[in-house]
Amino acid sequence: MNERAASRMRLVGMIRKESLQILRDPSSIAIAFVMPVVLLLLFGYGVSLDARHVPLAVVVEQPDTNTASLIGSFQHSAYFNLKSFDSIHAAQQAFDLREVFGIVWLRNDFSEQLLSRGNASIGVIVNGVNANQARITQGYIQGVWQVWLGHYARSRGMELTLPVALAPRIWFNAAVSSRDFLVPGLIALIMTLIGALLTSMVVAREWERGTMEALMVTPIRIGELVIGKLVPYFVLGMGGMLLSVATAVWLFEVPLRGSFWLLSAASALFMLVALGMGLVISVVAKNQFVAGQIAIVVTFLPAFILSGFIFQISSMPAAIQLITHIIPARYYVAILQTLFLAGDIWPIVLSNCAVLALMLFVLLAVARRKLHKRLDA
């Protein structure tokens, strides 16, 4: 038999063996399919950064038509659930018990100030513990206030003239739904899990069970060993990606504005990078416990926190921003969010793909240097 045929036979043998093992190992299935579904459902249904139905206490010390119109504006907003309290004291108690997130307080001189001096104040207290939620709630309150100002002016036969009116247009996500950016970003997490965590653990398992030693003394080349191991996990990861995309588009109705094929191509590239990371980790860690820990700390957590998936990279301290440049997920998340929400924006896709390709090259070079068919290297 010639060497090429033998090589192909070895490769096919490795791929078949690895695929059979995946199919028989419940934990591979768990990481590849159960975990993505759990994450998708959690993020799709469970997690939202948008504030809706914020419980708000209302204290009106002297009700009249003016206060009624202002409170009416709050009631019309979908963002708030109002609860009336007789005194600021009672409202504060509810606030302390976290029954309400904020208080709108109209003092007994509200109408008098409004009519006589045109300089009434609306007291608002928000719970600042969750700063993000507090800021977003503030924004909603300001929105309600502006709407009410217009109403008020019109009811008195005047035109409200603000010197400058802001006319915001939010591109790509007009409804500003957080699900539309969380769900696509999640694909990066899922592929990192499959590529890096699962792969590093299965290679470590071969070391632990002694099967690696037996493999190494066969005529298999190191390249065949690596490719044979990675192909099945590549397929598995792409399967995870397809599952996530399908869920995102059909279940959560996230728009996919870019081309599906471009998305697949970029994902394939990222999948290779993730597999490369798994491979390099497995060179360092020869038991599953350590491999799992390293994979979580080095790949999963950064993909979660430092990729721009949730947190804005430009707002991080400079040192941390520097670190994000070596996180592959950062580039993939940018591609994902663009392809889903904005469309085929080639400069973004190409530049990020170029970085990913460079990373792949480096990872493969490291793996190639570090992997030997020897036990003591």
């Binding site: 997690v47 608002v124 969750n130 400058v164 009116a165 006319a167 599953q288 926190i305 941390i320 904005a342």
Partner: protein, 371 residues
């Protein structure tokens, strides 16, 4: 007496087994510190240096004043001026800027004539949360500009103004929100991993049989195995609390005692869950996976990063069985709101119930597993 000595010996052995192993030591020390730093610095929703471009077609002074206010804000970073409509899309598309402020040619003229001048704002909505926050910041700038303009030109301002005061976190620093939460996050992770793997590790090493033939009863073994988890959790928790207070300078306003009661109950329930996983897992790999499958939803549904009140109602009910949910309230309550025992009572008792149920279940599973 003898029983106590046996349990004590078992707990000492468990602790030694964890601490003498390089890998386990790494797991206990490495990731928590890395996570504390990464979360503490990177996990922030506050926006700084948002890249923004200005498209100013107006030549009047007013528009320059508004732009100057934008440049002066620490939240924004002026990347450049553009001159044509066609330049907007590429800038936003390529993520060079997060938003473009567009002032039309009649901006100053409209203002002068008392007409409302329009300021157009185009925001990249790919990250909706960032978009909303950035919009909020800009709105505040415009509102301030309006009030100033009205005052300077002797025009009446709005008849009623908002006086918003955020309590507990006046500057709305999201670090104050995230960092105390890490106390809960990391103690949960460490405690569940330590206890979740403890039985599986002995099963794989074959020491479990050796343990079972000693006079130790299953209950003794369970107690002996929970003590190290709780101890390590308490130590690690205390370390993180110290870091939160002195390194990240988050105020600690409430009673430490109230915090520690909460932490103890929280660790008890975490140990209960860890031991349940432990009794079910045959191999360490299953143990790792089991802990992972528990930890991810537990963290996401705890209110650690996103408020529970934003979740769908069904999911909100689900969070009631998550001990971390209660501890998140306690730790933030004590740190920022200055809560004490009475206010936190409603968080204590559900955790006590969860701890009781999970520990009993773990005991039951453990005994059943052996038959």
């Amino acid at each position: 007496m003898n029983t106590l000595r046996r349990i004590f010996a078992l707990a000492v052995k468990e602790l030694l087994a964890i601490l003498r192993d390089k890998k386990s030591r790494f797991v206990l020390i490495g990731p928590p510190i890395i996570q504390l730093i990464v979360f503490g610095y990177a996990a922030t929703f506050d926006l700084n240096n948002i890249p923004v471009a200005v498209y100013n077609e107006d030549s009047g002074a007013a528009s320059r004043v508004l732009v100057a206010r934008l440049v002066g804000s620490p939240h924004f970073d002026l990347v450049g001026h553009i001159e044509r409509d066609a330049q907007i899309a590429p800038l936003i598309d390529n993520k060079d800027v997060l938003m473009v402020l567009h002032l039309g040619p009649r901006f100053s003229a409209d203002l002068k004539r008392g007409k409302t001048a329009s300021a157009q704002l185009i925001i990249d909505g790919r990250n909706s949360n960032t978009a909303l926050l950035a919009l909020g910041y800009l709105r505040a700038i415009v509102t301030d500009f309006n009030i100033d303009w009205a005052r300077r030109h002797g025009k009446p301002g709005p008849p009623a103004t908002l006086q918003i005061r955020p309590w507990y976190n006046a500057n709305l620093l999201s670090r104050w929100f995230v960092v105390p939460g890490i106390v809960g996050l990391l103690t949960l992770v460490v405690t569940t991993i330590v206890t979740g793997l403890s039985v599986a590790r002995e099963r794989e090493a074959g020491t479990f049989d050796q343990l079972l033939v000693t006079p130790l009863r299953p209950v003794d073994i369970l107690i002996g195995k929970s003590i190290p988890g709780i101890l390590i959790g308490l130590i690690e928790g205390s370390f993180i609390i110290t870091m939160v207070v002195f390194w990240f300078e988050v105020p600690l306003r409430g009673s430490l005692g109230a915090l520690y009661i909460g932490m103890f109950l929280f660790l008890l329930s975490a140990v209960g869950i860890g031991l349940m996983i432990s009794s079910l897992a045959v191999t360490q790999q299953q143990g790792i996976l089991g802990t992972f499958l528990f930890l991810v939803p537990a963290v996401i549904l705890s209110g650690f990063a996103t408020p529970i009140s934003n979740m769908p109602e069904a999911v909100q009910y689900l969070t009631l069985i998550n001990p971390m949910r209660y501890f998140m309230v306690i730790v933030r309550g004590v740190f920022l709101e200055g809560d004490s025992y009475v206010l936190l009572f409603d968080q204590y008792w559900p955790m006590a119930i969860i701890a009781f149920v999970t520990l009993s279940l773990a005991g039951w599973l453990f005994r059943r597993r052996m038959n």
